[in-house]
Amino acid sequence: MIEAHALGKRFGEKRVLRGVDLELPRGGFAVVTGPNGSGKTTLLRICAGLAIPSEGRLDVDATRAQIGYLGHEPLVYRELTSLENLELYGRLYRVPERRERIGMLLERFGLWDVRHERVATYSRGMTQRLALCRVLLHDPTLLVLDEPYTALDAAGAQLLDEQLRELRGERTFLVSTHDPAHVESLATVRLALAA
């Protein structure tokens, strides 16, 4: 699903990623760890198609429609409601039976009762739950998750644990984290980046 060889990225003179090799087969679960500034986020952005590598070779066997990306930001509009945000993404991703899928996800992540409220009124944890709904909305085959447990409370983290366990094997995961305890048991590939 993902094959990277000697992957690197520079921003001007600054090198933020150097010589990364990664082989992640379809259905695999890769956990990327490393200290701040080691290039975890850059690696995930490159694999998601948001950035172009400066050096090395990368093959990702997934189209944009098949990738679900969770970044540091939730990638939702704060002045729209969760329903409006998911409707927008649902249209852009051409999600079949959009309304039903959105309803199911909002219900599962505990946001159904606040679906008509603006995201600006949500807590950070609720916004992260909405971001997870957005990522899962189009049923992607490759999930690229950058610190997915950020801001989630115990219940939210448990929900995400269940979701990851449910999809493991059926979907391919590339997950970066500072706290690998949640995903350690799921990992089939481990990649530790150095600062």
Binding site: A65, I67, E73, V76, L80, L88, Y89, R91, L92
Partner: protein, 212 residues
């Protein structure tokens, strides 16, 4: 058809955001009316129609710049740009939808501004209105493209006018020409040509300005 549906969904989102936040259109309206009031008192009595026409175009370009500067603010402040870029729609749909939304705000501001101009100065010719309509298309097409280029840089507030104003000079030449000459057809044709050419260029190259 999917492309148009994407454009409609994205433009609807921009209009909805403005309806909720109300921070672009009121600012544009206030700015353009205030500019005419200042010009009204700054211009000596008996100033020519030519001078007034020039002021109209200065006011329009800077009002548009105000709106264009805010066009990508929700995407920048909430970092939603990545989400749009990742979506499997044609990326030019993002540019087209944003251009349409910005055009809607600019036209709304002008619906108030042009009668105010006519009241304060020397009335309005039909060719001026036609020139404004054609220039609006070019301003929004080019300005949105430049706004998307500038939004990813740290110096975006500086970069936006620096990139946009030189590109808007042909629009001002065409617009002022259409406003003052007796046979404005040549200038209106020039504006239409500018619109078509630059809209095509922006549409075709937008993909490359949104990738790191």
């Amino acid at each position: 058809m999917n492309y148009l549906a994407d454009v409609r969904a994205l433009a609807r989102k921009d209009l909805l955001l403005e309806l909720r936040a109300r921070d672009t259109l009121p600012a544009m309206l206030l700015f353009v009316v205030a500019t005419f009031v200042v010009f009204h008192f700054a211009l000596p009595a008996g100033s020519s129609k030519l001078a007034a026409s020039g002021l109209l175009w200065v006011a329009i370009v800077f009002t548009a710049l105000l709106g264009l500067g805010r066009a990508f603010v929700p995407e920048r402040e909430q970092r939603v740009f990545d989400g749009l870029v990742l979506a499997p729609c044609d990326r030019s749909a993002i540019w087209l939808a944003k251009s349409i939304a910005t055009l809607a705000f600019l036209v709304a501001a002008e619906v108030v501004a042009l009668p105010v101009f006519a009241l304060f100065f020397h009335g309005l010719r039909a060719s001026t209105v036609a020139g404004v309509a054609l220039a609006d298309l070019g301003i929004c097409a080019v300005g949105t493209f430049v706004g998307a280029t500038a939004v990813v840089t740290r110096a975006r507030d500086l970069l936006m006018p620096l990139l946009f104003l030189p590109l808007a000079i042909p629009l001002i030449i065409g617009g002022v020409g259409a406003s003052v000459v007796a046979a404005p057809g040549r200038y209106l044709g020039f504006l239409a040509l500018y619109d078509a050419l630059f809209a095509l260029l922006c549409w075709a190259s937008f993909e490359y300005v949104v990738t790191e």
